[in-house]
C-alpha cells in the first residue's frame, strides 16, 4: 500500500526528442504522483506540447524513458537494441492515458454519444448498452446531457471541448493530458471548460496540464513546472512559482504572460 502510494504514477527520465537535427527536448525529468495535478508553463516553442505527445506515444523519442504505472512505455529491447513497440502494444499503452487537444479533434461523423462510446466499445470492449450508459453519464457530468445526439458541427467550441473531455475521461485513464484546451475557445467559453477540469481534479484524477491560463494553473495545480528551451528550468508549488522568490527568466515569462 505505502509502496504503491509512494511510487510515482508517471516517471519521465532523461527524455530526449529531436525533430530531424533539432533537439526539442534535451533531457526532461519529471515525476507525477497519483492524483497529483501538475501544470507545465513556458514560452512558445519550449517543448510543452511535444512532451505531452511523447507521453501519449504520439511522437517517437530518441533518448530516456517514460514509465507509466510501473510499465516502461513506447520502447522495448530486442537483441540489446532499443525498439519502438508494435502497434497493438502502443495502442494498449495509449489507452492508459487520456488526451484532450487544443483543437478538440472530435470525430465529425459521430454524435457526442458516438464520440464517447467509440473507445469504450472498441478499446474497452464494453457491451453496447453499458457503453451507452457510461457515455451518457459522462456527457451529463460535463453538462451536455441534452446534447447526446448532436454531431460536433452542431455544438459550440466549448461544448465540443467538453465532449472531448468526456471522451477522454470515460475511458478511465490513469493519467489525463490536457494541452491548452481552452486556447481555441472564445473568451466567454473558457470558464465552462475550466470548471469541468476543476471538478475532475477535485475528484482525484491525475492531470498533466499545459496552459496559458495562469490564474487557473495557480488555483488547480499541486505543482507548477516551468519549461524553457526543452528543459525543465524550475518547478515547485504554485505559491513558490508565482511568489516572489523566482529566477529572472521565470519572472520575465510571467510578466510577459500578463501575470
Amino acid at each position: 500500500m505505502s509502496d504503491a502510494a509512494a511510487r510515482p504514477l508517471l516517471e519521465i527520465r532523461g527524455l530526449k526528442k529531436s525533430f530531424g537535427d533539432v533537439e526539442v527536448l534535451k533531457g526532461v525529468d519529471l515525476a507525477v504522483r497519483p492524483s497529483e495535478v501538475v501544470t507545465i508553463i513556458g514560452s512558445s516553442g519550449s517543448g510543452k506540447t511535444t512532451l505531452l505527445r511523447c507521453v501519449n506515444l504520439l511522437e517517437e523519442f530518441q533518448g530516456g524513458a517514460i514509465v507509466l504505472d510501473g510499465e516502461t512505455i513506447g520502447y522495448g529491447e530486442a537483441g540489446g537494441r532499443r525498439r519502438r513497440l508494435r502497434d497493438a502494444e502502443l495502442s494498449r499503452q495509449r489507452a492508459m492515458t487520456g488526451m484532450v487537444f487544443q483543437s478538440f479533434n472530435l470525430f465529425p461523423h459521430l454524435s457526442a454519444l458516438g464520440n464517447v462510446m467509440l473507445g469504450l466499445r472498441k478499446v474497452r470492449r464494453m457491451a453496447k448498452d453499458e457503453a451507452r450508459t457510461l457515455a451518457a453519464d459522462w456527457l451529463n457530468r460535463v453538462g451536455l446531457g441534452n446534447r447526446l445526439d448532436n454531431v460536433p458541427s452542431q455544438l459550440s467550441g466549448g461544448q465540443q471541448q467538453r465532449v472531448a473531455i468526456a471522451r477522454a475521461l470515460a475511458m478511465n485513464p490513469k493519467l489525463v493530458l490536457l494541452d491548452e484546451i481552452t486556447s481555441a475557445l472564445d473568451p466567454e467559453l473558457v470558464q465552462e471548460v475550466l470548471s469541468v477540469i476543476r471538478r475532475i481534479a477535485a475528484d482525484g484524477a491525475t492531470l498533466l496540464i499545459v496552459t496559458h491560463e495562469m490564474r487557473f494553473a495557480r488555483e488547480v495545480s499541486d505543482r507548477i513546472v516551468f519549461m524553457e528551451k526543452g528543459r525543465i528550468a524550475e518547478e515547485g508549488p504554485p505559491s513558490e512559482i508565482f511568489g516572489a522568490a523566482r529566477s529572472a527568466r521565470l519572472a520575465e515569462f510571467l510578466r510577459n504572460s500578463g501575470h
Binding site: 492515458t97 488526451m99 487537444f101 479533434n105 465529425p108 461523423h109 467509440l118 473507445g119 472498441k122
Partner: protein, 217 residues
C-alpha cells in the same frame, strides 16, 4: 414511327438481354474496382514508401491508358499467357482495373484530406491502426469520396459499351446487330443512347440524394 415500334417489338429480347448485360458488367466492374481501389487507396497513404511504389505505377499506367486499349489488352494478353478468359470476363477485368485505379486515387485524396488530428484523437483513445481505419478514417473518407465514386460508376456504364469491340453482347453490340437486320440506324442508336442516359440519370440522382443527406447530417 410505327415501323420503328414494330421493329423494336421484334428486337425487344436481344436488346433487353444486352441492357441487362451492360448493367451486370458495370456492377461487377464497380464492385471489383472498389475492392481494388480500397487496397490501392489505403496503401498509397499508409504503406511504407517502397511498398507504395507498385501502386503508384499501377495508378499512373491505368490512368494514362485509353480504356479501349485496356480492354483489348485484357482480351489478347491472357490468351498469350495461356489463360483462357471469355470476352465478358476480359472486359470486366479491364473495366475493374480501370475503376480500381480511379477509385484508389480518389480514396487517397479523401484520406489525405482528413485533418491529422483525427488520427491522433483515435490513437489517443487507444484504437489500433485497423480500428482507426475502420471507425474514424474510412467513414470520413467514404463520405468525401462518394460523389466522385458515383461518377466512376457512370464512366463504367459508358465504358462498358466499348466491350462491343471484343464481341461482348452488351447493349451497344445488340443494337448494332438489330440495325444490321432492319437498317434503322438512327432510330436504334438514339434508342440505345436514351437507355444509357436513363441509367446514368438514375445513378446521378441517387448520388445527389446521398450527397444531400450526408451534407445535412
Amino acid at each position: 414511327m410505327d415501323a420503328f415500334l414494330a421493329q423494336l417489338w421484334i428486337a425487344r429480347w436481344p436488346l433487353f438481354d444486352g441492357f441487362l448485360l451492360t448493367i451486370g458488367i458495370s456492377v461487377a466492374a464497380i464492385v471489383l474496382g472498389t475492392l481494388v481501389g480500397a487496397v490501392v487507396g489505403i496503401s498509397l497513404v499508409f504503406a511504407p514508401k517502397l511498398a507504395r511504389l507498385p501502386f503508384v505505377v499501377y495508378v499512373d499506367v491505368m490512368r494514362g491508358t485509353p480504356v479501349l486499349v485496356l480492354i483489348l489488352a485484357a482480351f489478347y494478353i491472357p490468351a498469350v499467357l495461356g489463360l483462357s478468359l471469355s470476352a465478358t470476363q476480359a472486359g470486366v477485368l479491364a473495366l475493374a482495373l480501370f475503376a480500381g485505379a480511379h477509385i484508389g486515387e480518389l480514396l487517397r485524396g479523401a484520406l489525405q484530406a482528413i485533418p491529422p488530428g483525427q488520427a491522433e484523437a483515435g490513437r489517443a483513445i487507444g484504437l489500433t491502426f485497423p480500428q482507426l481505419l475502420a471507425h474514424v478514417l474510412l467513414p470520413q473518407a467514404v463520405r468525401m469520396a462518394l460523389p466522385p465514386w458515383i461518377n466512376t460508376g457512370v464512366e463504367l456504364i459508358k465504358g462498358s459499351s466499348l466491350l462491343s469491340m471484343i464481341g461482348v453482347g452488351e447493349l451497344l453490340l445488340r443494337t448494332q446487330e438489330v440495325i444490321g437486320r432492319n437498317f434503322m440506324t438512327i432510330q436504334f442508336y438514339v434508342f440505345a443512347g436514351l437507355a444509357y442516359l436513363l441509367v446514368n440519370v438514375v445513378l446521378d440522382t441517387i448520388g445527389r440524394t446521398i450527397e444531400r443527406r450526408l451534407g445535412t447530417r
